[in-house]
């Protein structure tokens, strides 16, 4: 692939990124912060956590893999709904994200 793409010069304090964010969400009950426009996967990885789901057959951990929505390895539960792609879904205020175990669980609606 061409190397002519222009990348932004990132001026974030990368190490303290998950502390300085303005978007609050929870991951497995723990309150975390993200920056506006972060994907769920990015917001979780920024805290150092890597495992996003546990597989059905071998019960193995999986994390972000392709980062562009083609591999479906980063599936998480969001607000009681399984199979949400963490790499393509923007994190929003108050979002409840959970590790997906196997096929996940569909919580009954309100």
């Amino acid at each position: 692939m061409s190397s002519s793409n222009r990348e932004p010069a990132i001026a974030f304090d990368l190490a303290n990124r998950s502390v300085t964010g303005t978007v609050k969400f929870t991951f497995d009950g723990q309150e975390l912060r993200a920056h506006e426009g972060d994907t769920i996967a990015a917001a979780i990885l920024a805290t150092g956590e890597r495992c996003l789901r546990v597989t059905s057959r071998r019960s193995e951990p999986r994390g972000l893999f392709c980062g562009m929505g083609v591999c479906f390895d980063c599936l998480v539960q969001v607000d009681g709904r399984p199979n949400v792609q963490a790499c393509r879904t923007t994190v929003t205020n108050g979002m409840r994200v959970e590790t997906q175990h196997g096929a996940g669980v569909v919580e009954p609606g309100p």
Binding site: M1, S3, S4, L14, A42, L64, G67, G69, C71, F72
Partner: protein, 476 residues
């Protein structure tokens, strides 16, 4: 269902430049893309938070595309999941679905990274270079603290340098192609001094950063419990076969591995386009004529989705197919078409020669098929081990559709994208045939998961030209 004159699938470099070519001729296409912002993977735009602190200038093509957006219909976060006769495109957006038909359908879906299975490749922390790049580049997130970059191709250098700049320690870049091969190719690259210079600049920056480039080496294993902790590499011969007696181990928390790109041809396949096997540009690609129309009338393919050649070629191909469609619609005459397209075709021919040299150096080598052991996962979705896939091949699963029915390989949510290229090579090796003889994957709609709710909520979906403005990206 509603009809459009032209639909463009994908707003990467090919799709964007095609749309702009059409807009200039007064044709108003519908452009759909599954991302929230235009640019595709290569010109991926920063998120609002990153934008606010970024000093980068916007990519000029993305800039113009956004400026012209009132002249075309524009759907973001919209996924194309199937094509039905004739040129009827099935799309879904925000749990709603529609079928849109077009007189001309331009497919610009791009490509995704190729990573053949190796022990430990499913561990969290192992990701594609593109996956790591998007974290750093568009969101300012480090994928880890210490990342080995491995695989083959110039893209590795780009990502290694970006990771380093973001503060990630990169202990080495591991490149399968040997030093002799890379140097041997140099004389044939000299006719493109600008591109060669770009490559040299990346090498220089890596050297300055103190990141060693280990050519003629291959990543053979990722180790760790729960997440990656170690990367094991070995020197390899020119066929990519590792010398397992001389391994080296790196303590890392991240591995970014990729061996080039695979074109996304599923939509073209469903549109009935004839495919051609060209290993050097990613395997199966739609057969096209010199203005990029496929064997299916009114279906066109531009960019990496028609064969991997990078962003520059994608932009040119987008413009070429855009002009060709305009001429077909009568929006420009033959004279204008010739004037616009002759220089593009000349430039494409020149770039093709440069690419061919690189494609040869950074090719997929047979040794990669030896990396997975019996217990290594081959199909990541269905969790099938190499031994299970081989058992299927042994009892008659010697082509991909048959193997799929026998083993469930490729039946998970990725619909075979991740496993079929490596599995085709595995079948070829097991049966003593060429990868071409094994044949392509057989995609079926939906190629991306669609909820039943979205199928039921079938309604005319219209362009949402204000969405991008709401994201705050158009301010300049």
């Amino acid at each position: 269902m509603s009809d459009r004159r032209v639909i463009i699938v994908g707003a990467g470099p090919a799709g964007m430049s095609a749309a702009l070519a059409m807009v200039r001729a007064g044709v108003r296409p519908l452009v759909i893309d599954d991302n929230p912002r235009p640019g595709g993977q290569i010109y991926r735009q920063p998120t609002p938070a990153t934008q606010a602190v970024s000093t980068a200038t916007k990519n000029p093509l993305v800039h113009e595309f956004l400026q012209q957006q009132d002249k075309f219909e524009w759907m973001v976060e919209t996924t194309a999941w199937g094509i039905f006769p004739t040129r009827r495109l099935a799309i879904t957006r925000h749990a709603q679905s529609d079928i849109v038909a077009a007189e001309h359908l331009l497919l610009a879906p791009g490509a995704y990274e190729y990573l053949p299975p190796f022990p430990g490749w499913t561990l969290p922390g192992v990701m594609t270079p593109g996956g790591a790049q998007s974290l750093v580049k568009s969101m300012g997130v480090m994928p880890g603290k210490r990342a080995l970059v491995a695989g083959s191709g110039p893209f590795l250098l780009v990502v290694a340098e970006q990771l380093h700049r973001a503060g990630v320690e990169v202990p080495a870049v591991v490149e399968m192609a040997g030093t002799g091969e890379v140097w041997g190719a140099l004389p044939r690259l000299l006719r493109h001094p600008r591109l060669l210079w770009e490559g040299a600049a990346y090498h220089r920056r890596l050297r300055r950063a103190g990141i060693p480039l280990l050519r003629g080496h291959v990543l053979i294993e990722a180790r760790g419990a729960g997440e990656v902790r170690e990367a094991v590499i070995a020197p390899c011969d020119e066929n990519g076969n590792p010398d397992r007696g001389r391994t080296r181990t790196f303590a890392v928390d991240t591995i970014c591995a990729g061996y080039g790109f695979v074109p996304r041809v599923q939509l073209a396949q469903m549109a009935g386009c004839r495919l051609l096997f060209v290993d050097a540009i990613g395997g199966w690609v739609p057969l096209v004529n010199d203005e990029l129309e496929t064997s299916a009338t009114g279906v066109w393919v531009a960019g990496d989705g028609g064969g991997v050649a990078g962003a520059l070629v994608a932009e040119l191909e987008g413009a070429l197919s855009g002009h060709a469609i305009c001429r077909r619609l009568g929006a420009i005459d033959q004279g204008s078409y010739d004037r616009l397209c002759k220089p593009i075709q000349r430039q494409l021919a020149r770039l093709a020669k440069f690419r061919a040299v690189l494609d040869r150096v950074f090719r997929i080598r047979p040794g990669l098929t030896t990396l997975a052991d019996a217990n290594t996962i081959v199909c990541r979705c269905e969790e099938l081990a190499r031994s299970e896939v081989e058992a299927g091949v042994a009892v008659g699963g010697t082509d991909l559709p048959t193997l799929k029915v026998m083993t469930r390989l490729g039946m998970g949510p990725c619909q075979g994208l991740m496993c079929w290229p490596a599995t085709a090579r595995l079948i070829a090796e097991r049966t003593g045939r060429s990868v071409e003889a094994v044949g392509p994957w057989s995609p079926r709609p939906p190629i991306m998961p669609v909820t039943l709710g979205a199928l039921i909520d079938n309604r005319p979906l219209l362009g949402e030209n204000d969405t991008v403005k709401r994201d705050g990206i158009t301010s300049r």
